[in-house]
Amino acid sequence: MGADMDNHEPLIRIEEVSKIYHQGKPDEVRALQDISLEFFPGEVVVLTGPSGSGKSTLLALIGCMARPTQGTIYLQERRVSRLPESFLARIRRETYGFVFQQYHLLRDVSVLDNLMFPLYPAALPYKTMRERALLLLNKFDLSDRHKTNVRQLSGGEQQRVALARALMADPPIIIADEPTAHLDAELSLELLKILTELNAEGRTIIIASHDPVVYQSPLINRRIGLRHGKLVDDNNAGAGQ
């Protein structure tokens, strides 16, 4: 995973990437324009900017959820920007753990199934998956709630279920989109603490947020500013040191 913190090879390399939605249609949106960036192993990076600045789109491209209209993306020197969808899906489930703004848990499904359903394509034995899920729930103080329908959970609990789910495949990179949007300041700080712990385990953390609690936190070691789909600011402080 991230044992090689002193490795200066970039983990993710983005070269002149643009993303256009609804290309050639009246509602065409140029979400990103000519972005070039590098991310290094072990970094905690925050993408900031007002809504509509392209944070989420950039996060989606980094997370192999979408492919750029132009430009190239490398993940550990593998060119992923032109891979067919099925390969991208595989990378998503093996390399990334996602935490979304709305948590995006499956409604009317138990906490345990919420952790296990996304991992089904990995075709692990049921027992292994269950053990892993229970371990993670235990870690996030949710072990007594594994049979509960997620509708009955509080906001903070849902956030922790989402975090546990992101860790199911033991991914080297965590991607979080506005993770504190629905949390009060106290819970936000707690979340940041958890994320830092995950970073200490060697995982690279990439967050999109315009919450000052997050981007002004001393726990963050790199801030990237975006505006109108363009890069405006990057205090690339020595690649995650």
Partner: protein, 385 residues
């Protein structure tokens, strides 16, 4: 392998979470299958019934035609035919139809001499005097008489004739005995005012079944005004008749199926926002398009197979327990006194295969495009939404 089971588990869970919608769909689907299944079960049962009866029928029936129409046949033809090698017994039969305007039913009246084959299926005894008769179960129900009662009929000159019922047919296969009234032959000649020396037709027994067609040809050659009808021909006619009937009805009900499919299409395309969201999340977290498609196929298979089984059970109940009350008006063809249904219960594999092909394949085909649309959502919608 593990993944296949996991997908199935996911599909089950997904179906269960939307049970209101899916149960409604399944009920309509099962009803369509039950209707189609009833048609197939019923026609098959009737066909088996008819074939069973016919297999006891004489090998050849000889009629006489005059001017292209059926005429009474001279009894002495029987001697000519009996002279052919390979021919067993030749029996003249006296029979005719009788329409009762009161009960609005058609009866088949037949002389005792022509009705040997099914005598063992009788309850009571055969007519021994001119004013006695044996009737089929359908006649008994329609006219109401039991053994010992009187059956009152009007003959060709509107004269009242009374017959004591001495027996009732309780045939295992009552397709042909149902509307039957058996009288003594002389009494029947009297009733129809039919001259002696003539009969309605002749039945010919042939020892070797391979010779039937040769003997039929011979009869037609030596008695040019006669028309021999072999049992094989009857079997074919029945077979095509029933196939045609069930095919007709199938064609009608296929339109019902179509209507259902349009409904199903509508349901399936109108994937709920919640389901769309769920698929989006799974895709974002690493499910591939093919995984979603696989799960959707399993859902469609689960729905169709359970609807198929439910529909088949319904059809079975409808046809064999209730006696197909909903299909009777459509199938009543050749006689108003249609047999009451003590139908031979049975399903054959071929019918199941046909029913499955007609109902399940179109449904599955209809789910392809909606499933693909659902599976094709962009994973980054989740992020941007």
């Amino acid at each position: 392998m593990i993944f296949n089971f996991k997908l199935l588990e996911y599909s089950l869970s997904s179906l269960w979470r939307r049970k209101e919608k899916n149960i409604a769909l399944m009920i309509v689907y099962a009803l369509v299958i039950a209707t189609l299944g009833s048609v197939l079960l019923l026609t098959h049962a009737l066909k088996t019934e008819a074939l069973m009866t016919l297999s006891a029928a004489p090998e050849i029936v000889v009629q006489r035609t005059q001017g292209g129409r059926h005429e009474l046949i001279p009894v002495h033809y029987a001697e000519t035919i009996a002279g052919f090698p390979g021919v067993g017994k030749v029996t003249p039969r006296v029979w005719g139809y009788y329409y009762d305007s009161l009960v609005k039913a058609n009866l088949t009246l037949i002389g005792l001499g022509g009705y040997h084959e099914q005598l063992e299926l009788l309850e009571g005894r055969l007519p021994q005097a001119a004013d006695e008769c044996v009737i089929g179960a359908g006649v008994a129900d329609a006219f109401g008489p039991q053994i010992g009662n009187l059956l009152v009929l009007e003959d060709s000159s509107k004269r009242r004739s009374e017959f004591y019922v001495t027996g009732i047919f309780r045939s295992r296969s009552n397709l042909l005995t149902n509307d039957l009234v058996v009288l003594q032959e002389d009494a029947l000649r009297d009733f129809f005012a039919m001259p002696d020396g003539l009969a309605t037709d002749l039945t010919v027994q042939v020892y070797n079944s391979r010779e039937i067609s040769t003997i039929a040809k011979k009869i037609a050659y030596f008695l040019p005004d006669s028309r021999p009808i072999t049992r094989e021909e009857l079997l074919h006619t029945y077979d095509s008749l029933f196939n045609w009937r069930s095919g007709m009805m199938l064609a009608v009900f296929v339109s019902a199926l179509m209507a259902f499919l349009i409904l199903a299409w509508d349901r399936a395309t109108g994937i709920s926002a919640e389901e769309k969201r769920e698929i989006g999340i799974l895709k974002a977290l690493g499910w591939e398009t093919s995984h979603i498609l696989g799960a959707k196929l399993r859902e469609a298979l689960l729905i169709s197979l359970s609807a198929f089984i439910a529909g088949l059970l319904l059809a079975w109940f409808h046809v064999f327990v209730l006696g197909a009350p909903l299909l009777m008006p459509l199938l009543k063809g050749w006689s108003v006194l249609f047999p009451t249904f003590d139908l031979t219960r049975g399903v054959n594999l071929y019918q199941l295969a046909v029913l499955g092909c007609v109902t399940i394949l179109p449904y599955l085909a209809c789910t392809v495009i909606p499933a693909w649309k659902a599976a094709g959502s962009d994973p980054d919608d989740v992020m941007r939404g």
